[in-house]
Symmetry: C2
Subunit: 394 residues, 2 copies
């Protein structure tokens, strides 16, 4: 079977499995542990068994399909990703990595390849974290970053618990959700880039070197809510004007330090076109390839906010809600991906780049050699029904 | 009866009538045409009859209490305001002007004063416009700016119509809601300042010269919704960053032109800390003492928005939703208020100032000589339960 045919089969399974959660606009809505998730899990279970795998389900529902090797005392080499999607998600984010792994299993079987280590395909539970608000949950529990009881207690908006829903769809497994009890020998994840770099630079593949440092601040600007027509400009404490200046200045500062910043949320209390906003809250996502530079960005962002707050006689509260340190993937794994990329698309056909967002591979990287492979995202779009990749490119 | 006693009586009625809509936090919630509004209207009707007035109710429920003069062919000199409040309103906004008028009627009666023109106290319907979304509704219909059918068709959030609610509380009157059919000889309105100027400059009274030019723009910034970690800074079309720059720049421009600007509303589609906002909409209130200067502010604000939009490759839509031209009150009426102020608090005790917001007096000013009197607002606060004035100051 040649590469093109493999790619075509993979596309067939991607479009076939999109029936479970088909959002009728080209996308998929398949929240974790829903009936749609149960269906696609059932389909995966059936297919991996036909390909000669045994299926293990751990205590948080993560599925490990294991194809035996010649030495089954060794931990499996895993190809892992996730089958759950965003509420208005696409057909590729996460899914590609699991179905790509299935395709590899199929090729190994057809060619009767015997590997030394067992080979695994992993479907990590609740990567998206939108139904139960804790992203990369399955791999975080496996990595020991989140406790089992904390995970089990998570509730969706209807008050249904994570544990209850695992049980309901039949995926409350018994294998220890733990990197020691259920070790992996390595973890390779195929994913769409979710950004425009590969497409715009005409590269077919991305060799992912790690994940940049990232994290969130939440800034609350407390000014004074006043009547807009009757309060002279020099007697105001306008929370939204102050917030706007902060957002513009943080952007300037971040560009100088060659980092990235995004204000994705802004909310104002008692909004009315005739009222000076008294309280505004906004998020600041700050990312950098380097941990120290990111720390400097955080420090300067806080300073910018406190100075503008002082000018306007207001009070500023800054919460540092989340920080994720820079991750460097395993050099040997990166080399392996680079060699394969060179063989497939040549020296000029791939780019080396960091991932700009978290993946289950971040969690596995702490406990086994890990790296990732990117393919282009059409127009850089992800987390959206129009999420696509270009079949001809790989 | 001396001035202090009058003031004390007025305070008594203000606190007495606050029982209808008492919000138990020092404020009043008395939305137009509710049961609370019916109660306070009933109280007013009873009191004006005891003071020798006849009561006329027009087709939109505005109440005209008329004390006969020596020549009843002349139109009445009116003291008008409103008894409805904001949802989280205070005890003074609007109410002061009606109960102040009642106090004047009481003094005239006690002293057996006979005036030439009849004297009226007017309670204009739905000044606040929060239940039925059209502010200064009663006076707008009277002035001919809003048609009767349009007013009657307005619905509250529960789908109840303005006409239906007028009927339900018994205030669907038969007097023509029209400045020709029901003319006024003059209109004087006593009101709290709703701003900090009188208090901060130590003045007891404000002689209101008019209302500044004002109006609203709504700006929609259409950028591109993208993933924050994976989209390089130079490939973004960040709607919120562009909006923030616009807000800061509009503020700078307005300060140079000695006008006022307020962005009271901002909203972003699909808010998430990890997503670059693709669409942001905000309001811009622009005010100036002078119509031409306000027009220049509008022009420059539009230019600022379109330039920043171009820079970021986005699309900007600007709606000019509401404009109110500068209003100059009647010079004779202003003189009369100034003379009374001088007699009461001396040359240094009052300030001349424009009103920074709309009042029923704007509508009456188009059809009869009009002016207003302000008293200080404690801390400049209005439209809030903590709205107060200082009794000692008047």
């Amino acid at each position: 079977m040649d590469d093109t045919l493999v790619a075509m089969l993979l596309f067939t399974t991607i479009h076939h499995t999109a029936q479970w959660g088909d959002s009728n606009d080209g996308g998929v809505r398949r929240l974790t542990l829903t009936d749609e998730d149960k269906e696609v899990r059932g389909w995966l279970a059936e297919n991996v068994k036909e390909l000669g795998c045994t299926l293990k389900v751990d205590e948080v529902g993560t599925m490990f399909a294991i194809r035996p090797g010649s030495d089954n005392s060794l931990p499996p080499i895993a190809m892992g990703s996730h089958l759950d999607t965003q509420p208005a998600g696409g057909k590729f984010d996460g899914i590609l990595g699991v179905l790509g792994g299935l395709e590899v299993l199929s090729v190994l079987k057809e060619n009767s390849v015997k590997t030394r280590n067992p080979i695994a395909v992993v479907n990590w539970t609740n990567e998206e974290g939108t139904r139960f608000n804790s992203g990369m949950l399955g791999s975080s529990v496996w990595a020991g970053d989140i406790g089992m009881e904390e995970a089990y207690g998570l509730k969706d908006v209807d008050g249904k618990t994570f544990r209850g829903e695992l049980e309901r769809i039949g995926y409350l497994g018994t294998v220890g959700a733990n990197h020691k009890k259920n070790a992996l020998g390595a973890h390779i994840q195929l994913h769409i880039e979710q950004g425009p770099v590969l497409e715009e630079t005409g590269k077919a593949l991305g060799v992912v070197t790690g994940v940049q440092a990232m994290g969130w601040l939440y800034v609350t600007v407390n000014g004074r809510c006043q009547h807009c027509g009757t309060t002279p400009m020099d007697r105001r404490s306008d929370a939204l004007l102050a917030a706007s200046k902060m957002i513009a200045k943080i952007n300037e500062m971040v560009l100088k330090l060659e980092g990235m910043s995004t204000v994705g949320i802004i909310s104002s209390e008692r909004p009315s076109p005739g009222t000076i906003p008294g309280k505004v809250r906004f998020s600041v996502d700050l990312e950098h390839l380097d941990d120290d530079s990111r720390a400097l960005m955080v420090e300067r962002a806080k300073k910018i906010c406190s100075l503008i707050g002082e000018l306007k006689n207001g009070k500023i509260d800054i919460e540092d809600t989340w920080t994720s340190r820079r991750v460097r993937f395993n050099p040997l794994c990166i080399d392996t991906v680079r060699e394969a990329a060179t063989a497939l698309v040549g020296e000029d056909g791939y780019a080396e780049l960091p991932a700009g967002t978290g993946h289950d591979s971040v969690n596995t990287s702490y406990h086994c050699p890990t790296s990732m492979i990117f393919i282009p995202s059409q127009n850089g779009i992800s987390h959206h029904p129009s999420e696509r990749t270009n079949q001809d490119q790989w």
